[in-house]
Every structure is written in structure tokens, then in C-alpha cells.
Amino acid sequence: NAGVTQTPKFRVLKTGQSMTLLCAQDMNHEYMYWYRQDPGMGLRLIHYSVGEGTTAKGEVPDGYNVSRLKKQNFLLGLESAAPSQTSVYFCASSLPGGFQPQHFGDGTRLSIL
């Protein structure tokens, strides 16, 4: 049982390039989330989804877009990468309800030069 899988694990981009981070979960969870973790900042929510075809903004959504076309996948896109988006990105999924424990992937380390 893989749980939550994030692809890729590492990536280096140049400023202005675009890319998509993929999150896949095999637990049939309704809710999915994208966070970023920066030194001394904890986990900050970028976007989340409470079901297939729905997305909502979190605390730090600017510069990112998301799509949830299939229940098991949640994609995070950077249209024009900026150095300020250098971070570790975590995807998580959970059963319905904000109180439900979230299951996290192991992260994608993204560096933007």
C-alpha cells in the first residue's frame, strides 16, 4: 500500500520555467492538500480539494494553480517559477472533514535558480 506518492522528489528549475508536481493517493480519500514548508515557517497550505473537480485556495495560493480531475490525483502547477517558490512541497490526503488526520507524501524538494 503506497499511501501518498509525490513525483518528482527533487527538481531544479530556472526562473520563469513552468512545471507540474504530481500527487497520487491510493486510499480513496476525498480530501487532498498541497503545502509548502520553508525554514522556520512550518507548513503553509497552498491549495486544497474536498472532492474530484473542486479546488480551493489556502493561505499562500499566489503563483500556483491546481487541478483535481481524478479523485486519486492532485496536481500543483507553477506557471512561471520564481526564486521565492524554492521550498519543500508536501501533498496530503484525508477522509472528509478538516479534523481528519492527514496522510502526507515524502515531499518534493524544488529549487529555483
Binding site: G40, L43, F90, G97, F99, H103, F104, G107
Partner: protein, 113 residues
């Protein structure tokens, strides 16, 4: 404005002793709280939670205490083990609805053998 605060960035404890990690919150609408543990290069994992209808919840060596009037919760680990060395995140939400988790910045616990 930080709604969930973990004011101690780090904590060192001797093996076998008690570890106490603290968390304060400012939003009186929060009524459900969770603790996550994170090892390097891994995603956070859920540890224990507590609802505001309780003031204590215990799971093995881990106990979470909630003081609603002080808007304060603490995680006690007894006895502490070297494998407990990790970053611990406190998170808060509302039990009803889809309110996303709000995370604190984390406390790095080092258990010294």
C-alpha cells in the same frame, strides 16, 4: 498573524525523562487539535489528537493536554526515547465543516541517550 504558535524552536531531553512540547492558539473558534511528527526527508505523520470536549487524551507514551481557557495545549512524551527525536507540529481546526488545518512552526525535539 500566527493563529497557532509553538514558541520553542527546539528542546533537548535525556532519554527516559519526560518531554513536554507546548502550543498556543489565538483563534477561539478552533475546537480540534492534532500533533504531527516529522523525521528528516519524510512527510509528517499523525501522532495524536484532542477535541475541545476533552482536556486530556492518551495514547501509549503520548499524552496531549488541553487548557481551553488559556488556549494552550501540550504534548507529553514519557519516557522519551532516541527514536522520538524529530520535529513536532501542532495543528488546529474546527471539528465541523471543512476548515483546513493551521500548523504551528514546529519544535525540534532531541532525545539524548
Amino acid at each position: 498573524d500566527q493563529q497557532v504558535k509553538q514558541n520553542s524552536p527546539s528542546l533537548s531531553v535525556q532519554e527516559g525523562r519526560i518531554s513536554i512540547l507546548n502550543c498556543d492558539y489565538t483563534n477561539s473558534m478552533f475546537d480540534y487539535f492534532l500533533w504531527y511528527k516529522k523525521y528528516p526527508a519524510e512527510g509528517p505523520t499523525f501522532l495524536i489528537s484532542i477535541s475541545s470536549i476533552k482536556d486530556k487524551n492518551e495514547d501509549g507514551r503520548f499524552t496531549v493536554f488541553l487548557n481551553k481557557s488559556a488556549k494552550h495545549l501540550s504534548l507529553h512524551i514519557v519516557p522519551s526515547q532516541p527514536g522520538d527525536s524529530a520535529v513536532y507540529f501542532c495543528a488546529a481546526t474546527r471539528y465541523s465543516g471543512n476548515t483546513p488545518l493551521v500548523f504551528g512552526k514546529g519544535t525540534r525535539l532531541s532525545v539524548i541517550a
